[in-house]
């Protein structure tokens, strides 16, 4: 196997982008999976997408537009749910459809070819720019830093919001923080990883980690490892089989999830409990 390709700068950048994106997305994914708001990935990705198009249309930095839209949307999700007495997922669904509509209206207003915009949906990890890498690095560091710093508050809120409030943890603030981190991660991943790909990179590694551990710390760690490995396997496969890198990363992360689900000790415990049930009944009646 000729691996000389990994000596090239663009490939090294891609490997680094997969590492940073993998860590940031997978960490955010743990929140998303545990809070049961998996749709937030596509919702904020489309918000960022609409913001980027607006930027191009009005002549300001698309990245700025993407940030404003995705963080703005992340900020509205909570209040919309509270005001409308909806659950978070419904609120996310409403905003997702709005952002999708906006993105296509704005794209309709653009003249000329739209391939540059559409590439944001698929990402281009092989042509990742230095700015993308720096931003990805900064956001990954912030995400990991804040999770480490506020680990116990985050753990309490993920377990039960009311109980967190009852022990004096500002649960609302923590949830906004989580949404803010999700929005930032998605925005900086938009260009290198792509709006559609990001969904799988958020959900799959965290969902795989969820299959394997009962410890939140380990879940964060495993998710990050799976995120990185998905990216790297995807890159390698894309080179070896000459397939699009984004799609290869999606398939790699799905495979990791499949394996984790297959070998999940959590399922084994379930089977063990069922098998053990008659003996327990017998013991208690025998007393």
């Amino acid at each position: 196997m000729d691996l000389s390709i990994f000596g090239y700068q663009f490939m090294q950048n891609a490997i680094l982008a997969a590492f940073l994106g993998g860590v940031a997305c997978a960490t955010v994914g743990v929140f998303v999976v545990l809070m049961g708001i998996s749709f937030i990935g596509v919702c904020l990705a489309h918000a960022a997408f609409a913001g980027a198009i607006l930027g191009v249309l009005l002549g300001f930095n698309p990245l700025l537009g993407a940030f404003i839209f995705s963080l703005g949307t992340a900020a509205i999700i909570g209040p919309l749910a509270t005001r409308g007495e909806l659950n978070l997922d419904t609120s996310i669904g409403v905003l997702f459809s709005l952002m999708l509509g906006l993105a296509f209206i704005l794209m309709g207003l653009m003249s000329g070819p739209k391939t540059q915009m559409l590439s944001l949906l698929w990402g281009s990890i092989l042509t990742v720019s230095k700015t993308d890498l720096i931003l990805l690095g900064v956001v990954a560091a912030i995400v990991v830093g804040l999770v480490t710093l506020f680990y116990k508050e985050i753990q309490a809120v993920l377990f039960n919001r009311d109980i967190a409030l009852a022990v004096g943890i500002p649960a609302g603030l923590i949830i906004y923080g989580i949404l803010f981190l999700t929005g930032s991660t998605i925005t900086v991943s938009l260009s290198p990883i792509g709006g559609l790909l990001i969904f799988s990179l958020i959900i799959n590694p965290a969902a795989a980690a969820y299959q394997l551990t009962y410890s939140l710390k380990k879940m964060f760690l495993l998710a990050a490892i799976f995120g990185i490995v998905s990216g790297w396997i995807g890159l390698l496969a894309s080179y070896l089989f000459n397939v699009p890198s984004g799609a290869a990363i999606i398939v790699a992360s799905s495979l990791i999830f499949g394996l984790a689900a297959l070998f999940s000790p959590k399922r084994k415990i379930k089977r063990w409990q069922v098998r053990d049930e008659p003996s327990r009944v017998f013991q208690s009646t025998g007393k």
């Binding site: 545990l34 710093l149 506020f150 116990k152 508050e153 753990q155 309490a156 993920l158 377990f159 039960n160 009311d162 109980i163 967190a164 409030l165 009852a166 022990v167 004096g168 943890i169 500002p170 969820y210 551990t213 009962y214 410890s215 939140l216 380990k218 879940m219 959590k266 415990i269």
Partner: protein, 266 residues
């Protein structure tokens, strides 16, 4: 109020409280005083405002009118976090995902977070307190297990350990025995009685189920339609006619092994 708090040992004072959610008024002009060390049972039908009364005390409820003092502090918006740290709260059995990645001792540790504040991690002293509380509620053998794997009664014991790990001055229990089986219900009631006595707590115990009321209540508060309808000693309040009126349903009482049991008549 601080003086009154110190002189009279009044830990909770609610004056003409009104709480409303949307169009519904959950509490109408409710006034209540609780003294240090008291064990107060709050009973009444569903929707009577019992839970709202509890949320008023731990600052989770929204006061529209009236005033509330807890442990010498007036409860206002934004100033409640300090109070919450001193008040342990046990809600009714939660629906916990069995795959939730959090263990029994980690759940109990959440109680310590109230005392730790931001940026500080739990140390040995905190772990010792958590171990002690888990032992107190009889869950030491399950300490490392995922919380979602425990039975309802065991999860409620852990919830009590979590509340006690806060080293609270007050314990609020909101239907802690709801949806538990008979034996678990009895065990939780006995546990609450024990911790109330051994840890010098002031305890408020809310339940709609008369048979789930610990027999140590110093006082019973009867709530109906958002108001405190009557209050008095358990002896005075647990009468067939009073209870039948409270629940708008005929209720008979029977003595069984020295304990009053309540039956729906007819």
């Amino acid at each position: 109020m601080r003086n009154l708090y110190e002189m009279n040992n009044t830990v909770v004072k609610i004056e003409n409280a009104v709480v409303s959610y949307r169009e519904d008024v959950a509490l109408r002009d409710v006034s209540l005083e609780v003294k240090r060390g008291e064990f107060v049972g709050v009973i009444g039908p569903n929707g009577a405002g019992k839970t709202t009364l509890i949320t008023l005390i731990n600052g989770l409820g929204k006061l529209v009118q009236g005033r509330v003092w807890v442990l010498g502090h007036s409860i206002r918006k934004g100033s409640v976090n300090g109070i919450r740290k001193r008040v342990g709260y046990v809600a009714q059995l939660q629906n916990i995902d069995p795959r939730m990645p959090i263990s029994v001792e980690e759940v109990a540790m959440i109680g310590r977070y109230s005392q730790l504040g931001t940026f500080r991690r739990p140390g040995k002293a905190d772990r010792d307190i958590v171990d002690e509380m888990i032992e107190l509620v009889g869950m030491s053998h399950l300490a490392k297990r995922p919380i979602g794997h425990l039975s309802g009664g065991e999860q409620q014991r852990v919830a009590i350990a979590r509340a006690l790990a806060q080293e609270p001055e007050m314990l609020l229990l909101d239907e802690p025995t709801a949806s538990l089986d008979w034996r678990a219900q009895k065990e939780i009631m006995e546990l609450v009685k024990k911790v109330h006595e051994t840890r010098n707590l002031t305890t408020l115990f809310v339940t709609h189920d008369l048979n789930a009321l610990p027999d140590t209540c110093d006082r019973l508060v009867l709530m109906k339609a958002g108001r405190i309808w009557q209050q008095g000693t358990a002896e005075e309040m647990l009468q067939q006619d009073i209870l039948s009126q409270l629940y708008d349903a005929p209720i008979t009482t029977r003595e069984h092994e020295g304990r009053k049991i309540f039956l729906k008549a007819g």
